[in-house]
Symmetry: C2
Subunit: 161 residues, 2 copies
């Protein structure tokens, strides 16, 4: 039996383990820069929250989310990551996790629940399609990373706009 419940501080090591498992699968283990200590601090500061899926007292899935803000729609929920451990996929666990998040979004009456999916991740897109998800491919993701931020010098880079 799968149980879905809110994650607690005690679940963070298992949650991070799932994040790392997926990063290894995606051949990007070094991209995971957070630690249990850092996640614990941020969780206790309410930067994010998460649901866990438990099977025989083992955490086999997580859905990690936070509250975002939109100038048009106000406070909304953003699903950063939904992970089910490989050997327990195709058992409806991902659905139960996202259903728990939708129930939360419903209860909190937010105007949007949002997330992103890789364009080539067809199984995930089909899964989200069954929820009648709105997809939008009009946007580019933009980022500046740590070294760029640290080396930024406003005067030097002044661009006259």
């Amino acid at each position: 039996m799968i149980t879905i419940r809110k994650g607690t501080e005690q679940d963070i090591p298992a949650a991070l383990q799932l994040v790392i498992e997926l990063a290894i699968y995606e051949k990007a283990p070094n991209e995971v820069e957070v630690s249990v200590e850092e996640m614990t601090r941020d969780f206790n500061n309410n930067v994010f929250d998460f649901f866990v899926a438990e099977l025989n007292r083992e955490i086999v899935g997580i859905a990690l989310y936070y509250y975002k803000y939109s100038t048009w729609k106000g406070r909304c929920i953003y699903l950063d990551d939904i992970i089910v451990t490989e050997k327990h996929r195709n058992k409806g666990i991902g659905y139960k996790l996202i259903a728990a998040l939708i129930e939360l979004a419903k209860k909190e009456k937010v105007r949007k629940l949002e997330w992103q999916v890789l364009k080539w991740n067809t199984p995930a897109i089909e899964f989200y399609n069954k929820l009648n998800t709105h997809f939008d491919d009009e946007w580019l993701n933009c980022k500046l990373i740590y070294n760029q931020l640290q080396n930024f010098n406003a005067e030097k880079q002044e661009m006259g706009r």
Copy 2:
């Protein structure tokens, strides 16, 4: 002279006015569902924060942001919207606003500052290019909106995954 400073509760009516001005320009004024009261409540609950650009005591631009969470990079800053009122564009105000946000990201040592841009918004893309922004077009934005969330019924929609 342009002054950039953190926004306060008193600046929210002017900030929302800029949001509405842009929505009208984009022919989507009805998409703005937030009110001054709602923004004020969320601002006081630290859901978002913003910088304002002031010219002769008038607010002519805003950069509205919040803290997001990434399972790989932890607590990061997300720029939801940067707006400069039409008659004061091309005076470097947008740059000063984003520079203030980069300085904040630098000070807080976050691993990423992120935002999105419409694919066809060439002037904005050129502007961000000068900051050596990383662009990523591999993702689709996904959302469920208010009515979908309110009408969700987990049992009915069970999808066996």
